[in-house]
Subunit: 475 residues, 2 copies
């Protein structure tokens, strides 16, 4: 049985761990799918490439407001897909090749299953024995062991439970797309039904809508982006309803095949015809095939692997990082956790801890949304004495220039300390503007210091943050 | 002779001084032109409204790269001008009306000239005695005095000396536009010659070029934006030369009237035909008509009023702020100086000082440029031991999404302290991205802390700053 110093399962964020400091370690990396994980292949990177393309289309559509007569004649979806994925696929291949060229690293392109805490069994590779296979040596049934094992298998999209009871779906006659495959569909649907109301639904609604698809969002709750600050959720839901067909408090009760693609029946009794159906209802930690039952690795009720602040699981010498264990399914959090594991693998006597205090996130929809820290609801529930301040894009110079009627920045300031405890932006470039607030919160710069202790470039867009801060008077 | 507690000359940044805390003071505000000053009327605000309009046009032109077929059919210049200035003019009028409604404030819509340190003589208003005049009481020859006088007359555009020797210009047969009037020309010229290579030239070149005008920049120096970091200046000059006709090391030697507008002869011997000519060669402090020779207010050789760190001139009880005295002709600096004067007028025993340490600035051209702190050249000249790091937009995820081939972020880090001493960005949203660096520099957050001490929203654009910082290894 081949023995390694370190085995890493999952070549997304897990692949970041191995750098030159690991040159003396014998390492195996096991990846059943593609190098780069969700982020590079089916997440952050390609979605933002599609989103930016949609943003370009949106600019064309808004040109008339600015005295410019322009026409959007057509959208070449296959060209867009090809531009995006030819670039991504080349990077994925290069990342894998780079690892295979590391003299101290063995790459196994297959799934792994725990036999016991430090022993893994490898599954046969998909193409094993198939004509045209890669000719890689068979891994089927092979076992390997390691002193340290890192679980970084990430997460996978889920499909609503009731969908498996629909014959047309269960039989595969009506495909239900997820974020894993919707970006590679061969042609744009004329009508798309998106089930879900979270950030993935919001991003794809923007993409497909701007590229000319009639989009309907079906959300079982009373609003979109319900985990966000209430004001963000409320205003975004209103804006979304102007751009797309939005069905709230609604579930899908039946899916049938139809000549145009699918016929979707809603709990309201309404029936929607569409060419494609996208489930964007959530993601689950990807532990299903790991055989964790054979180990002493504990798992939360929601499927996440339990880790301590050092990213150690309950099994000695077994670590986890990223979506498979993290309370935040965010790439920047996974990166941070990977750096913590990296350090801790090399310095067992000086373990460092993960810092989950100030975690921002962004939604690249229309308009963009960014958030960090407490929502108004969380601050209220925690009984904090806070001051809230909201400032609109339209009341700063750059918002004038953009003729932006809807953007705003909200800050929540703790009255006793003057520190910012939350910030929420909806509007152009929100995901860039939030970063400065993250910095203030992380380094303990108070709202008043941040607002008046520095020059703000006039007339640039961060002035909306400045003015929101100025409005949060704690005295 | 009417006596005031405070007289403010200039209702741009000077107008910000008077708030509720001045309710018990008898105040006069003297403004010969428009309330709001350069920024609101002919500077930051309208230029950015034109720039954003140009940005929209640019998005349409780049659509093909993103798989979108679009056409820009026409640009309605009069509609653009009307949209922008109807909004601005309404705000200017409202600002003036607001002041006139202050019971403790008298507004004089005319010029003022010092008779001695604390006595001013008012010029006749332009429409005095003219049919259809405003009917306001005559101010001609009226004298007023004040305990405290604030000079906030700003700056005005200059025209190259040699232009006055050109008959066609001196006689007015060929108008030479400046930033004061180019934005209100009745129709777009087919060809525009811009003399100058600084930020005003760069912004107007972008505006007019994207709106369909053939633009030629004539710059006497060897590069554009020469006061910027050398790498910014060099890369921008190269990019500008792809977008516009750029003539470097060149001066205008003759201007004559021609059927299409003007014929401009260059020092190279070349002759340019154009419909309009814009001088964007600099701005000078606006002290010309103030009669400072009658006072003990000292003036620098370059025309700026000498002030100390409290914004006091050399004449007791006479203050100055903004472009008329500041080493920085920037609205955010004038705002800061106005706040200092505001405080100091109210607290003569507890004067505060102006802080000019970390002053950022932006150029809203294509691509955007933003800068703060030392350039490479300044750091080298100061003999600092620095590490420089440059990171390209194209190597972060959002840069991929934008398909941006040219943007970059440069940081300059002081090796002994690890502190950032300068940062320079060229690329989309540079004027927003710089603000976070301003914050780090102002509050003493080191490059290493800034890079690794916080979460960076993935895949948002600030990651280009993060990566530039990571590249500046001081050990």
């Amino acid at each position: 049985m081949e023995h390694y110093d370190i085995v890493i399962i999952g070549a997304g964020s897990g692949n970041m761990i191995v750098n030159r400091k690991f040159a003396s370690k014998k390492v195996a990396i096991i990846e059943a799918n593609k190098f780069g994980g969700t982020c590079l292949n089916v997440g952050c990177i390609p979605t933002k490439m599609f989103v930016y393309t949609a943003d370009v289309a949106a600019h064309i559509r808004e040109a008339a407001r600015f005295g410019i007569t322009a026409r959007l004649d057509s959208v070449d979806w296959p060209a867009i897909v090809d531009r995006i994925f030819s670039r991504i696929d080349a990077n994925v291949a290069a990342a894998k090749q780079f690892r295979e060229d590391n003299p101290n690293v063995t790459v196994y392109s297959t799934r792994a299953r725990f036999i016991e805490d430090h022993v893994l069994e490898l599954a046969p590779t998909d193409d094993e024995g198939a004509p045209g296979g890669t000719g890689a040596p068979s891994t089927g049934g092979q076992r390997i062991s390691a002193d340290q094992i890192v679980i970084a298998t990430g997460s996978r999209p889920t499909i609503p439970d009731q969908f498996s009871s629909f014959d047309a779906v269960a039989s595969g006659r009506v495909p239900v797309y997820t974020s894993d495959d919707i970006m590679r569909i061969p042609q744009l649907p004329d009508r798309l039904v998106i089930v879900g109301g979270g950030f993935i639904a919001a991003e794809f609604a923007h993409v497909f809508s701007e590229l000319g698809v009639e989009v309907t969002l079906v959300e079982r709750g009373p609003a979109l982006l319900r985990h966000h600050d209430g004001e963000i959720s409320q205003r975004f839901t209103a804006l979304a309803s102007k751009q797309w067909k939005v069905r709230l408090n609604t579930e899908v009760t039946a899916v049938e095949e139809s000549p145009g693609g699918a016929r979707v029946t809603l709990s309201t009794g309404d029936v929607l015809e569409c060419a494609a159906l996208l489930a964007a209802t959530g993601r689950a930690p990807d532990t299903g095939e790991l055989g964790l039952g054979n180990t002493s690795v504990r798992v939360e009720e929601d499927g996440r692997i339990v880790v301590d602040a050092h990213q150690r699981t309950s099994a000695d010498g077994v670590w986890a990082l990223g979506d498979v264990c993290s309370p935040w399914m965010l790439k920047h959090v996974a990166n941070h956790e990977a750096r913590v594991v990296q350090h801790n693998l090399l310095h067992p006597g000086e373990l460092i801890k993960t810092d989950h205090r100030v975690v921002p996130s962004g939604v690249f929809t229309a308009p963009q949304i960014a958030t960090v820290g407490l929502t108004s609801e969380m601050a209220s529930e925690a009984g904090l004495d806070v001051v809230e301040s909201v400032f609109d894009y339209k009341d700063v110079a750059y918002g004038w220039a953009m003729d932006d009627p809807e953007g705003f920045c909200k800050v929540i300031v703790d009255r006793p300390t003057g520190l910012i405890v939350g910030a929420h932006l909806l509007g152009a470039h929100a995901t860039a503007l939030i970063q400065q607030v993250v910095q203030a919160m992380t380094f303990g710069i108070s709202a008043a210091e941040m607002a008046r202790g520095q020059y703000w470039v006039h007339p640039a867009l961060p002035e909306v943050v400045e003015n929101a801060l100025l409005g949060a008077r704690i005295r």
